[in-house]
Each structure stands twice: as C-alpha cells, then as structure tokens.
Point group: C2
Chain length 178, copies 2
C-alpha cells in the first residue's frame, strides 16, 4: 500500500491545493484525500510511505483531521498500530465540516459582533454607521446559522430532494420577488 495510481495522485494533489484555499494545511488535506480513497483503514507508516512525509508530520496531521471529526482511529485485528479511516458519506462529511466551521469561526464571529454592538451603543466614539454595519452583518449570520441549525439534521434523502427542487420552491412557497 504505497503505490498510487496517476488518478489518485492527481486527486490528492488537487485536494491538497484546494485545502490551502480554505485555510487548511496542504499535507492535512492530502492525507484526508488518501484516506478518503482507501478501501481499508491505513496506518501512519502507510501514509508516510505513500505521500513521502515525515512520521511526526503525519501524526500531527491525523490529529488535526480527527479534530475536524472527519477521520477516526480504528484498530485492526493482529496489528497493534493505530489505523485511520475517513468518513465515507460525502453529505455527512460536509455537514461535519460545516458544523466545525460554525463552531470555530462563525459562532465566535457572532459573539464578537454582539459584543461590538453592545460596546458601540455605550460608546460615543464609534459612529452610528459602524454600528449599523455591525448590526447588519450580525443579522446575516444569525439568519443563516438559524437556518442551518434547522436543516442540518435532515437526512440526506430529504436534503437531496429539497436541493433538487431548486427554483421550483419559490413558486410552491409563494416567496415572490422579481
């Protein structure tokens, strides 16, 4: 388990590149891609050999992927080493990532926005415009996170049906608007 097909290499390289565009370390994303495509759990030395990175770097990266919740440690009969596998269900995986993003970035942003608004109300130094801006941004995040909070629990089947309705929903619900 150290030979990658050209297809696998291509995907792993691309996925790593995309990771960096979303603030994720390239190697972390590459390890994820490798695990995602692996039919069986891999142990760290497999990953070392396959991707050609240091053992300690693999250890740290796996820790991060576990922190995101998309990779988990499993044990294999007759092998004392930790093995790792990626989540397989794509919809579920993206939901887990979204949840983590919400927890790490969006919720703290909302908290900061709310603090800023409270402070701006008391503080005459901050102009009215800034306060309005912050309120509008907070409203956006509140609205979108409330929405997400409701649909995140939908089963994939309901979600895909919903998504496939697309524009038709507008008419059905009489949402109107030009």
């Amino acid at each position: 388990m150290s030979k990658l097909s050209p297809v696998q290499q291509k995907f792993i390289l691309h996925w790593g590149e995309m990771g960096t565009k979303w603030g994720i370390n390239r190697t972390v994303a590459q390890i994820h891609a490798l695990l995602f495509m692996s039919p069986k759990p891999l142990h760290a030395d497999d990953i070392v050999e396959t991707l050609g990175v240091a053992r300690s770097n693999v250890s740290t990266s796996l820790k991060e992927l576990q922190g995101w919740g998309i990779v988990r440690r499993v044990h294999v009969m007759g092998d004392q080493r930790d093995h790792f596998e990626s989540m397989k269900d794509v919809w579920e995986m993206f939901r887990v990532v979204l949840d983590e993003r919400k927890k790490r970035e969006i919720d703290p942003t909302l908290a900061v926005l709310r603090e800023c608004i409270v402070e701006a109300e008391k503080d005459k130094e901050t102009d009215e415009y800034t306060e309005q801006r912050l309120r509008e941004l907070a409203a956006f995040f509140e609205t979108t996170t409330a929405w997400y909070g409701q649909i995140r629990t939908w089963p994939t089947s309901a979600l895909t049906k919903f998504v496939k309705l697309g524009d038709k929903i507008r008419k059905v619900l009489g949402l109107g608007g030009g």
Copy 2:
C-alpha cells in the same frame, strides 16, 4: 480618518483572524473590514495610516479585494487619488464571494473529478473503490452547485423568507425522511 474606535479595532482584528481560517491573508481581510465600516470611500494612504501597513502592501491587497469583486475603485471630486469602497449589502457580498469561490475552487475541483473519473474508467491500475469515491464526491458537488446556481439569483427578500421557513419547508414539500 486614521483614528479607530476600540470597537472598530476589535472587529477588524477579528475579521482578519477569520480571514486566515478561510485561506485569506490577514491584512487583506483587515482592509476589507475597514472599508466595510467606513461611511465614505477611503484612499490608500488613509488605510496605510489607519492600519499601519506599507503602501505597497495596501496596493496589493486592494487589488486582491477587487479581484474578489467585493471592493471597487471610485473617484472623489477634487482628489486625484483612487478611493476604494466595500460592498455594503451583506447578502449580496456573500453571494459575490460564493460565486468567486465556486469559480476558483469548486468548478476546477469538479473538472478534476470528472477527468479522474474518465481516466479511472480506462485505467486498470485505479481500483474500483477509488472510482466510486470520486463519483460520489462529484455527484455531491454537481448537486449542490446546481442548487446554488438556481437560488443565487433570488432577491434577498425571497431568500430571507425562504431561510426563515427553515424546517417548516420539509412538511410543506412533503420531503419526508426520519
């Protein structure tokens, strides 16, 4: 225009930090936050003074923000310098960013996935499992981008009505599941 209130400082610092989590340079995100909160367009030297960064770095950052489509150059009567302003409508701004993300990352990812799938079909070296994984991932992106393609044009009023319905939509549309 070089004095920031504590509230503004707080938000700018936080927004910059959040930018890095999404693959955006901290200074770029901070400049955006500053422009977002400014009632009037700012010129580059304003930004230099206010944030304390080099003029050339401001120039490069503004170029990037313009590339994202969320900042534009404007001219002010009686001043030969370029001034810059951020988009103000939050919903619109996030739509612009999403569009750009789709163009820069998601569309290319779909292209790579499709190529990989074609190659995997021809290539006996790539196992069946990998091919199935790639198909499932491609299907996810195809479904979600098709959905986005339809709702991105909705006016904000329709969009917020839709979002505020949240879970109720499921019953109305008879989506079932769980």
